[in-house]
Amino acid sequence: MTKNYLLEIGLEEMPAHVVTNSINQLAQKTAKFLKDNRISFSEIDKYSTPRRLAIIVKDMDEKQKDIDIKAKGPSKKIAQDADGNWTKAAQGFARGQGMTAGDIFFEELKGVEYAYIQKHETGKDVADVLKDITEVITSLTFPTRMRWANFDFEYIRPIHWLVSLLDSQEVPIKILDVDSGRMTRGHRFLGEDVEIDNVRDYVDDLRGQFVLVDAKERKDLISSQIETIAQDNDWVVDVDPDLLEEVNNLVEYPTTFHGKFDRKYLEIPEEVLITSMKDNQRYFYVRNKSGELEPDFISVRNGNSEHLENVIQGNEKVLVARLEDADFFFKEDQSKTIQDYVNKLKTVNFHVKIGTMYEKMQRVHQISDHLATLFGLSDQERKDLLRASDIYKFDLVTSMVDEFPELQGVMGEKYASIMGETNGVAKAVREHYMPISAEGDLPSTKVGATLAIANKLDSLITFYAVGLIPSGSNDPYALRRQAYGIVRILDDNNWSMNLNDLQDFIAANLKVPDNLNLSEHSDELIQFMIDRVRQLLNTTSIKNDIIDAVTSGSNIDPVAMVDTAKVLQSHSADLEFKAVIEALGRVVNLAQKAGFKYSDELKMDDSLFENPSEKSLNEKVAAIYTSQPDSAEKLYDRLAALKESINSYFEENMIMDKDEKIKNNRLTQLVITNHLIAKLGDLSKIVVK
């Protein structure tokens, strides 16, 4: 016969966000504990509320499985003396195994005889094994832990009760001053303590005490209650799964209700209303069928529907107080000008070591000006961009953003529009934060995209300049996300931006405080950016060797790298791909050994040509230079077309000729050719079989 085991840990209210993770841990760690202890079972059911974590292990063996153990002891030389008597060592070994020396036998292992004991261990009762389940309970990990009373022990919240029951039999365990039993507690206000007779009664007994212990049942109930309210009122409710999860873990017995606020507050920007309701009060906001916000909200009480009118009234009052504040801030903020706020930014630090927000905006203005030309922005776009770069952080010092920091950028756009800025400027003020997560949405306008790049570049450059460089998982200023954001925006707009050139421009033009050395870590920063290009390419199906190749070339331009990778990937299926790469690879190898580097001054001397293949390659390469292929595809095609010429060149000519002049002329040919190839990447990294 099999058995079911119930473990319930009763606690003071846990933080909503740890409940699900904790119950998952408890189930996983219990499964491992049972497996390690040779107890089989069919499944583990999980139950959780803010005040309890519980599992029911189903269909467990009554006993551990028996096992046969062969224990190895000392070598025969040590186990027996010269007369064949058992030594103390042998007797000790046998005793340690719960046997006597007479049970010892010898077996050879790698040419030496050793003492062994064979024993059969009968499995313990499952109840005995479960006494050690406390080690599972204490092994749970939490984001924050606390001590309480006089104890040194740390846990998520103080433990108040433990239920440990095998079918109807108690399995006594103890943690600190808490002894387990069969008594559990009902809902804090509606329920009472209740004794669980048998594991199978657990869920229903608690239901009788106003605790819905199955989190999924609770969640489904909340969802359907919201659905009913929405239908009754002709509302559309977009139920945010994270909010639902949080609310679900704040209640043991949910009753959903709705309240309202005066329509006049709808004049406050929607984002502010939503933040007040959703983030501050954990309410669900509602819209009408045409998508407009309604002056109503839905919330969930931890209790039944009695006296619900008090709860509704109280919640309405709290929300109105918040909206009253927001309304005050909204009006108050509009009594000042953008210039007032910009001036205030002179006293707000971007970072202690770097300087003020105002100074940051000045630098971003310079970078934006440069990028506007580089990206070919129209006159109007350039005008909007430069205006936006002068003001884009202004909302940080408004009362509304002070109160609701998560609305930075959003309020900036609102206020900028109200205060007479163009749509382009207003939008850029909001969009400069984008993407706000690794895979978040990108700016939708060119002005916003350029400002976003300029703002992020400035952060990267200045943090690197003062040595605040991300290492491992330590990246407090989210520089990785910002660099990745730049790469994604460039890729999205297909904007070419050579990082070396940019670095040169910045080092030469950017006004920074004296303590900032813009060139000190610039190589590391470029590598950091290139690694983000790799990160982007890794999200595609492009092969690793191609990614390695394009990120090691001479053209330090994210968009060019991405394009080249796509071109090489698509050609890698060509029949002649292997031959092309090999031919170009021969040029690369010898050019790298030439002992001199490419420069514009390098010239071929055709008077030194001895074979027709020299003239032919020279003309073809020169033609590529003249035509200046403007895409990776064209460049690849032109270089691939050199395959035959290169092969004949190597067949007919001895590169390392005895005549120094001829040798140098030929090496020059290869260096000039390689200069074109390197724009694609380091092709020697491509694997061709």
Binding site: D152, E306, G314
Partner: protein, 303 residues
């Protein structure tokens, strides 16, 4: 709720309730401070091994929150009803809920929830774990188990319950503005506090003498450090409180830049840590008088 408690009766009810639970009823401490936690009856008593159960009303000054008496909920000075019990009783949450019942707030008629909120006061080296208590969606109480005070680990752990007096009273009396609360005998909160609110706001935001305050801060800091070295813990602590309030005044005036802000806070934190350490030393010299005789820590001291 059948009868609506005025503010003074609400306070009396809480005092009676917690007095019956074994708390000493202390009086407000007479140096300016930003929160009940900074009273020596909490800050100093939360560290070291000695037991301590106390309840008191603490007027708390937050210059930056002043609104010239015009905002219905924000105040230069509000009142906290503070309960500290050390070690935290096992049933402290139930005690708290019973105290709400004593105030006429029957949990079955409302929605009461414990929502995670870990409290921190970095400038005093304090950190705790706990909740804000929601009454029908309104935060009426901060409930904290102290883990660290003045940079020292708390052992045993103190439970701190901080009722927002005006918040709770607004709920009980069902008014929309604190100024409409009845304090006692028909006298309204506004009759007493509206004028000082206006004047303190005017002073904090417009009239305070910054040069004088900067000088005060430096002098208070010097004095506090000197007194700590002399083992004069309590006078030293008073000067740290004065530093903290002086800083708050400067901050409200916008006189402290973001960079300086961090530096000021770390100066206060250093003093708070020193005074906390000195307090435990001084109590140890006295044999930790408030330790129960059967406490193992007591024997250690006597060894």
């Amino acid at each position: 709720m059948t009868k609506k408690l005025n503010v003074q009766n609400m306070i009396l009810t809480l005092q009676k309730f917690w007095g019956d639970k074994g708390c000493m009823l202390m009086q407000a401490y007479d140096t300016e401070k930003g929160a009940g936690t900074m009273s020596p009856y909490t800050f100093l008593r939360a560290i070291g091994p000695e037991h301590w159960n106390a309840a008191y009303v603490e007027p708390s000054r937050r210059p930056a929150d002043g609104r010239y008496g015009e905002n219905p909920n924000r105040l230069y000075q509000h009142h906290q009803f503070q309960v500290v019990m050390k070690p935290a009783p096992k049933d402290i949450q139930e005690y708290y809920l019973d105290s709400l019942r004593a105030l006429g707030i029957e949990p079955l008629e409302h929605d009461i929830r414990f929502v995670e909120d870990n409290w921190e006061n970095p400038s005093m080296g304090c950190a705790g774990v706990g909740w804000e208590v929601w009454l029908d969606g309104m935060e009426v109480t901060q409930f904290t188990y102290f883990q660290q005070v003045g940079g020292l680990q708390c052992h045993p752990v103190t439970s701190e319950i901080t009722y927002g007096v005006e918040r709770l009273a607004s709920y009980i009396q069902d008014v929309n503005s604190v100024y409409d609360l009845e304090w006692g005998d028909g006298v309204l909160y506004g009759d007493i506090f509206k004028e000082p609110e206006y004047e303190h706001s005017k002073y904090s935001f417009e009239e305070s003498n910054q040069d004088m305050l900067f000088k005060f801060f430096n002098d208070y800091e010097k004095e506090a450090n000197r007194l700590i070295d002399l083992g004069l813990v309590h006078p030293a602590y008073d000067y740290i409180l004065k530093c903290s309030h002086t800083f708050n005044l400067l901050d409200a005036r916008g006189a402290v830049s973001v960079t300086e802000r961090a530096a000021f806070l770390s100066r206060i934190r250093r003093m708070a840590h020193k005074v906390a350490t000195a307090f435990v030393e001084e109590r140890k010299k006295r044999g930790f008088p408030l330790l129960p005789n059967d406490d193992p820590a007591k024997e250690k001291v006597n060894d």
